[in-house]
């Protein structure tokens, strides 16, 4: 770790001490974890929050009436408040907990897509989506007669705004569902312009913020969008919990998705009536411990502050782009103006999987494959790439280690 890791106002050494997992050897080498975009590591605060809940006050939530159930309900619902504050939602009832981003998007495709949209309308996505923001809309198309449109991206890896607008032109797009930050290219999409254009053409907008939530302060009211989803495990929280935010009036118009306990107001065999939002969308025993862990993660992130996180990431990304440019035969995918700390690359003469394995032997963890974005890979005529991605705990020295490791891989294959 070098001095630069403090320059952005982030004391990375202190932060690293909060993540017990980072301090270890992998295959005899110091761990260099550069796979945070797939899933981030968990700070002590998250681990402890979940442990303490299980040790001291765990019980099922809602209607428990006894002390531990009341306390657990408070803790779980406090997670909703934390999420609402994090995203600047107008109303805590606009926060729906799901398992992950994928379920959030499926909820929307079922409930808004099948329940509110009409046959003949279209959903518009982009050419850089994660499978989780492609497949649910294909399934909607195939079962419900909703057209699926794809806005092109440029060779630089940015949204082609002309094509985007052209695909909105006929007014049949009911919903734009688009990433706020690509998990491959690192591209941050121009959210305000997307919203303005979409709304001008009568379409609602959902952002897939799975990556963006980690890299940008999200203010849904400022963005002006209609839905926004993300996933807890990438924001230093536990697995098993994700978020769908939606404008209250839209959520209220949407039929429920899953049926069962906790989402009803009353049940007879003839007919059931639904609980108010957000509970209408949360069937069954929720991910209670995960909500408690997520709240701890949000508190942790808020204590660091997005400004410091974003500055640190920008500094790391700039450093990484410069260092990787010095590795012969390496091509970086995407050169968007606005980008976050996710960098995919291909190495001449070496397959991405071999690159990843050979880095792993040096203790360096990167991901390799299609990154759940096959159509995007195909756009660049690739099967797979390797990808390095950064978190709050990533150091400039780790970026240097990556560059050095890649040079060795290149030599090894020469």
């Amino acid at each position: 770790m070098n001095a630069i890791d403090k320059s952005a106002g982030l004391d990375v050494a202190r932060i690293r001490a909060d993540f017990p997992i980072l301090d270890q050897k992998i295959r005899g080498k110091t761990l260099v974890f550069l796979d945070s975009a797939a899933s981030a590591q968990k700070p002590r605060a998250v681990i402890d929050a979940m442990r303490i809940a299980m040790e001291t006050q765990y019980a099922n939530v809602h209607r428990g009436l006894h002390w531990m159930s009341e306390r657990t309900t408070e803790a779980y619902e406090a997670a909703r408040d934390a999420v609402a504050a994090l995203m600047n939602a107008k109303d805590r009832a606009e926060i729906v907990f799901t398992r992950n981003s994928t379920e959030a998007i499926n909820l929307l495709a079922h409930s808004y897509g099948r329940g509110v949209m009409k046959r003949g309308q279209a959903v518009l996505i982009s050419g850089m989506e994660h499978h989780s923001n492609i497949v649910p809309w294909q399934m909607l198309r195939d079962s419900h007669g909703i057209e699926l449109r794809v806005a092109d991206i440029t060779d630089q890896g940015e949204l082609d705004m002309a094509d985007f607008e052209a695909k909105l032109a006929d007014g049949r797009v009911g919903l734009v569902a688009i990433t706020h930050m690509s998990n491959v290219l690192g591209t941050v999409t121009p959210a305000e312009r997307i919203v303005a254009l979409a709304h001008a053409h009568g379409a609602k907008v959902m952002f897939d913020g799975s990556q963006a939530i980690v890299h940008r302060k999200i203010d849904v009211q400022a963005l002006g969008c209609d839905f926004y989803c993300w996933t807890g495990h990438k924001l230093y929280g536990p697995t098993g919990i994700g978020v769908l935010w939606g404008r209250r009036e839209l959520l209220e118009r949407m039929p429920p998705f899953l049926g069962g306990g906790d989402m009803i107001s009353s049940v007879t065999y003839e007919q059931s009536t639904w609980a108010a939002v957000p509970h209408k969308f949360e069937a069954g025993t929720p991910a209670i411990l995960e909500g408690i862990g997520l709240k701890a993660a949000i508190d942790y992130v808020q204590a660091i502050g997005y400004d410091a996180m974003v500055a640190h990431e920008a500094s790391l990304t700039e450093h990484a782009l410069a260092r990787l440019a010095s590795v012969p035969g390496l091509t970086i995918l995407g050169q968007a103006q606005e980008r976050g700390g996710v960098i995919a690359f291909a190495m001449e003469k070496a397959h991405a999987h071999d690159v990843a394995t050979l880095l792993d032997r040096q203790g360096i963890a990167v991901r390799a494959g299609h990154h759940c974005a096959e159509p995007l890979m195909r756009r660049y005529n690739l099967d797979s790439t390797a990808r390095a991605s950064f978190g709050v705990y990533t150091t400039h020295a780790e970026v240097d280690a990556l560059a050095a490791g890649l040079l060795r891989v290149r030599e090894f294959f020469a």
Binding site: R63, L65, S69, E70, T73, I264, S265, S266
Partner: protein, 158 residues
């Protein structure tokens, strides 16, 4: 009844006055003549209440209710009926807000001094704040009352 001290641990929420109003509510009856009525329903716990109101000019003349529910909700309905009787219609919403605050937090420091006296009467219910899921039991009759004052038939639940 056993000497009250043996029930000390139970009594901080279920004070004698609550047990008493829960067991023998004075206002638990449908009014023969009334100006407005509304229902409240908490499907989550099965509590159900209907409130009838007879006005006396700008004041509340008389309140009656029918409730099916726990001791807290019946006692709350009865204490409410007793407390609002004779009060200005216009003040009732403020009282409800103050009561709701007290039910949620145990006190209402920001409450208008003018409400001190009626709040005092409702104070035995303040213990519910320790049981967030029972707060609705105490506030349900108030929701119905406010709905009746507003002329809506159904209370919107919280």
């Amino acid at each position: 009844m056993t000497p009250s001290d043996s029930f000390d641990d139970l009594r901080d929420l279920y004070q004698e006055v609550i047990l008493d109003h829960g067991r023998k509510p004075r206002f638990a009856q449908r009014l023969e003549t009334f100006d407005s009525t509304a229902k409240g329903d908490n499907p989550m716990c099965g509590d159900r209440v209907q409130v009838w109101v007879k006005f006396d000019g700008d004041s509340i003349g008389r309140v009656g209710f029918e409730a099916r529910g726990c001791a807290i909700s019946v006692a709350s309905a009865d204490l409410m009926a007793e407390t609002v009787q004779g009060r200005a219609k216009a003040d009732t919403k403020a009282l409800f807000e103050a009561f709701r605050e007290m039910a949620r937090t145990g006190t209402c420091p920001s409450c208008d001094a003018a409400l001190a006296e009626p709040l005092e009467r409702l104070a035995p219910l303040s213990g519910v704040h320790e049981y967030p899921s029972r707060v609705k039991c105490a506030t349900l009759p108030w929701h119905a009352l406010v709905a009746a004052l507003d002329g809506s038939k159904e209370a919107s639940s919280e």
